[in-house]
Symmetry: C2
Subunit: 165 residues, 2 copies
Amino acid sequence: MSAARTDVEAVEAANTALYDAVERGDMDALARMWLEEQEAGESGVSVVHPGWPVLTGRGEVLRSYALIMANTDYIQFFLTDTEISVLGDTALVSCTENILSGGPAEEDGSAGPLVGGLVVATNVFRRTEDGEWKVWSHHGSPVLVERDEDDSDDDEEPGQGDIEL
Amino acid sequence: MSAARTDVEAVEAANTALYDAVERGDMDALARMWLEEQEAGESGVSVVHPGWPVLTGRGEVLRSYALIMANTDYIQFFLTDTEISVLGDTALVSCTENILSGGPAEEDGSAGPLVGGLVVATNVFRRTEDGEWKVWSHHGSPVLVERDEDDSDDDEEPGQGDIEL
């Protein structure tokens, strides 16, 4: 770790490490990356996995990851569109998770089918007293509508932007 | 506004006001509730509407609300499960949006059909220099899996928690 790196670089490294821990199925590493209860405010940490309700508190959050890992033989995240804003000791990260995952192996021992998925995430980090960035909140959700990559507004109505419903 | 109210109460009022502005279709009020670019850090504010990709920056965020308002004749939010954590000048809010909405009126002038929806949201607020709580990020996503309200772990495997996939 270089002391010269910026806050944004440190947050990006913490964000990448979060996904690496899930890829490796490393619950110990994952648990260390989330704020402790006493660091997380009145209601504690929170997580929303794609399509899930909100889970709050370290216990529920970590159990949800244990459940996901138990049901996932293989998962790989390719992060794109990572945007980071740092204000004081809080960092706001948004990114697109391009996911390749596989279920439990088939009965004959072969790997389960691999499936691709597109999830967008908002991750909030806090800098702890020892200078580490830890996760306060993760919210991931499926992308169900397409974004028009053509930024031209020529033929669009005012206010329509570049979203297609 | 009472000077005696706590940070958590002030944040809850800001969170409620955000949804009230969408209900009223009040773009001016909504725009005032979001951080200005110079207050929002390197990448600015961000929003994820249910099923949408991430949008960053005030321009894109406010255009997305204008588009939603233009396509929504009626919308009402019943907020439940609101959880608030305040750390310094940042507040993390999670809540469930129980939504009742209607599309544009039918050609015969009658109201469009009303539909219910369930969305979970993570909203991040920042306290500005003048003491107001303003929105840094909103992430809403559809709930696609059911949560088992029975908290009994008696017949569950370790780590399974109370989530049903």
